[in-house]
Amino acid sequence: SGNCAPLNEAMAVLQHHDAVTGTARQLVAEDYARQLSEGWGPSEVLLSNALARLSGSKKTFTFCRDLNISICPLSQKSASFQVILYNPLGRKVDHMVRLPVSKSSFHVKDPSGQTVPNSVVVVPSAEPQEHYPELVFSASVPALGFSIYSVTKISHQKPSIPLPNSISRKFRSR
């Protein structure tokens, strides 16, 4: 069962100025992180339950906590998956979705089944031979509502990925 009370309580504790400004001792900072982390799990269950009820479909919902560092095992490994966006604002929002994927081409459909333009952007890494592709597409989400986009990998096509390496070499030579 889902529960947002632990996250509420962790957030309440983190109102303390130590947590906001970083004036806590290292051990205390780690405890703040622990409380947040333990509160997040049951909140994800709560959100999953709400989404299942709203969409009428029970799924294994996945939350990619490491999206900001381009890590999301589901989008990186699955041949097809769904992207559900919930908009907490009281107006329609256009949001650019950005997900780490495996090197390929993709077919993205909006909630009405229409094809959505997408790009695969290769993100350079510190390692010379490693590049991380990210799928980018624009999603529209209604006010205080959600949209479900479906993503399918197209394996038989050559990826139309721009090659940053070829460009960067020219700059390096300057």
Binding site: K58, I84, V123, R174
Partner: protein, 281 residues
């Protein structure tokens, strides 16, 4: 490449091909052009001096000098252009990089910075800033939000209710920035929205800076008894600055809506294909 730029239907950002730094932002929609030099710098943390024993620490920001050091004089760059997004990847050093990004249909420039682990092996604490230098005639005025709602006018080296004798010209002009900071002249306004609370200031006319990360080697003697120095090699921080260039009279509508969208961004949840019908009972 004589001209290095990324652009969409509303914004064009131009970079110096030799240094890789941002040099100019153009709002194509409103025909506004502003030379903007953006780069990263760091203040050396004070470990006390003849004036005061006070060191820079978790509570106290006290740089040892007025002028910050550039992280680098040039950035290694990579350009990525697709129909939906154009990006310039800038690598300033082993511990400081940034992606300047423009999505199709977006009216702001997105700067995604990654800073850390800050090296302190040589015994110097560092406080890293992102600084925007423009020719805007700001007369010492800049604007920050105090609590995410009210924007307050700040004046350099000045307090509205007492006569200020400022001994710390950098720290004494730093203010909290919870969601945004901006500078303006009679025509144009440059607004930077943050994705988290940061310290910010304008230490010169037309200049605007935000502190993005700090790592210090000494305790500031305010009760913590620990330097602000993470275990191991230190933390990597990644965040975003959203930059808007607009006419003064129209800027508020833009940054208010964008800040709402940033703070209450859509929640993204993934699910494998398939699934069973859900029955509430």
């Amino acid at each position: 490449f004589r001209v290095l730029a990324i652009e969409n239907e509303y914004i064009r950002a131009t970079f110096n091909p030799d240094t890789g730094f941002l040099t100019e932002i153009r709002n194509k929609d409103k025909n506004l052009l502003l030379p903007v030099n953006q780069s990263f710098f760091w203040y050396g943390a004070s470990s006390g001096d003849l004036e005061s024993w006070q060191t820079s620490g978790a509570y106290i920001f006290r740089p040892e000098g007025r002028k910050p050091y550039p992280v680098s004089h040039y950035a290694q760059i990579r350009l990525v252009k697709t129909p939906l997004v154009q990006e310039l990847h800038q690598n300033f050093s082993a511990w400081c990089s940034q992606v300047v990004r423009l999505y199709q249909g977006q009216r702001h420039l997105e700067l995604e910075w990654t800073v850390g682990p800050i090296p302190v092996g040589e015994g110097w604490g560092k406080e890293v800033i992102s600084r925007f230098d423009t020719p805007l005639k700001t007369n010492g005025l800049f604007y920050t939000d105090s609590n995410g709602r009210e924007i307050l006018q700040r004046k350099r080296d000045y307090r509205p209710t007492w006569e200020l004798d400022l001994w710390e010209p950098v720290a004494g002009n730093y203010y909290p920035v919870n969601t945004r900071i901006y500078i303006k002249d009679r025509n144009m306004q440059l607004t930077v929205l943050t994705d988290r609370s940061q310290g910010g200031s304008s230490l010169g006319n037309g200049s605007l800076e935000l502190m993005v990360h700090r790592r210090l080697v000494k305790d500031d003697g305010r009760g913590l008894q620990e330097p602000l120095k993470e275990n191991g090699s230190g933390l990597v921080a990644r965040g975003r600055h959203l930059v808007l260039l607009d006419r003064v009279g129209e800027a508020a509508a833009g940054h208010r809506l964008l800040a709402e969208k940033e703070v209450l961004a859509p929640q993204v949840v993934l699910a494998p294909d398939g699934g069973a019908l859900y029955h509430p009972q």
